[in-house]
């Protein structure tokens, strides 16, 4: 019946599947991007003395990764790997690495260096000092940034489908192109609900991790 919830959400099954695919893209991209950001943030932080070559190199690399818009990366990757989720995941991961890397590096720069001196004075290498003196101190804020990025990436993953990079974006692009307003609003509502769900989940995850370290 026209006007009913069932009419509005008549393609819920396929949308839910596409949304699930989008969420998976966002999750994978966040994981890969945050992982790369973590590795680059230590040399990029100014206070750890990574060296005159490595420090600017890491900083410039992070800048390059976050300056180029995701959609441009997506177009390049669609051209390189073909139409599908892989291109979208890679594009979002690269941008995430750049954006998170800067925030991670700033977290590291805001950490006191007492523990760092402790580990270094005990004969610990630079890498060991990053792992033992810095990482435990910054882990909660790094996790917060990564989870926030997960929400942002869900939105990005919805849009990035516009260029053929998989997920619910392709469907959204289609209904916008055909001016199917009910469908547009239905899909947007589903995306917003998915972001709510991620927000609730990430809150629980964050508290568990922070509490678990005690």
């Amino acid at each position: 019946m026209e006007g009913s919830l069932a009419f509005w959400m008549y393609r819920l099954d396929s949308w839910a599947w596409l949304l699930f695919e989008t969420a998976n893209m966002a999750a994978l991209a966040t994981l890969a991007g945050a992982g790369a950001a973590l590795l680059l943030a230590f040399p990029a932080a100014r206070n750890l003395g990574a060296g005159r070559v490595l420090n600017p190199l890491a900083r410039r690399l992070l800048e390059a990764m976050r300056t180029v818009p995701e959609i441009v990366f997506a177009l390049i990757f669609v051209w390189a790997f073909g139409v599908g989720p892989l291109a979208g995941i890679l594009a979002i991961a690269v941008h995430t690495a750049g954006a998170c890397g800067k925030l991670f590096a700033e977290s590291i720069e805001n950490t006191g260096l007492g523990a760092w001196a402790g580990v270094r004075s005990a004969g610990g290498s630079w890498t060991q000092a990053c792992r033992f003196a810095i990482l435990p101190q910054v882990a909660p804020s790094l996790l917060s940034y990564a989870l926030l990025r997960f929400e942002i990436n869900l939105r990005s993953a919805s849009v990035i489908g516009f260029v053929g990079a998989g997920g619910i974006g392709e469907e959204l692009y289609k209904v916008i192109a055909f001016n199917y307003y009910e469908e547009i609003s239905a899909i947007l509502l589903l995306v917003i609900l998915a972001v709510f769900a991620i927000d609730l989940l990430s809150e629980r995850l964050r508290h568990r991790v922070i509490g678990g370290m005690q």
Partner: protein, 294 residues
Amino acid sequence: MGLRQVAALEQDVAAWMGARGMLELRGLTRRFGATVAVDHVDLDVPAGQMVGIIGRSGAGKSTLLRMINRLETPSSGQILSGGRDVTALEGRGLREWRRDCAMVFQQFNLVQRLDVLTNVLIGRLAWQRGWRSLMVLVGARFTAEERAMALAALDRFGLAETALQRAETLSGGQQQRVALCRALLQQPRLVLADEPIASLDPRNAQLVMDALRDVNRRDGLTVLVNLHHLDTARQYCDRIVAMQAGKVVFDGTPAALTPERVRAVYGITEQEFAAEAEARRRAAEPAPATLAVA
């Protein structure tokens, strides 16, 4: 073991220590811009000695110790240990030297969010080789022997039951003893303690000084300790080195450091010296720990 073997072993040990002692400083200097923090310090420290380095704030005591551990790079001069030039070390050699001369800091420098046991195990980092070092780096997986060593060290200073607590939950005195455990796990030959009791109340200060002396007497480790209080230095150390404006102005036994000598060296009486040290301690006392919710 035959007599001849013992003699050979003694010879080896003597060679290892070097003919001229555990630690030798030759014209050691550190400049920060126009100021000279440490000014041509010459010092010979034989193995097993407990040396107290005293001086008012800004006398260069901290810079001196940090240079020995190479946390600070000397502007000129040499640090020798067993005839080996420490000033020239880098990479693996430098890390092994740092492992051999453990450092204890005024602010403890523990990793606040890590548990006490892992903090102590940080003393083992420089011992990791090959794939073991990867295991430690990725999963903080130290061997059972190392964990047992850490627990034994904690137990020695009455801290075994705190092993699984976060370092930030401990009092200052406890944290400093954890830092000493970390130092011991390095299996060092030398312990450099930079104002170890300057942020502690008198009772905890005594516990930490007792622990340092125990390490010196029982484990035979050479100890260099920076101190503010002349009384503490006299009570615990075999030898006192007094610094003023980066220079060594007195070097001798505690008995030789008479009140007249203090006055001659510092231009103030011993009471004034003690009052100054106490004021600094109060200023350095950490604020009560607050629980940060991220």
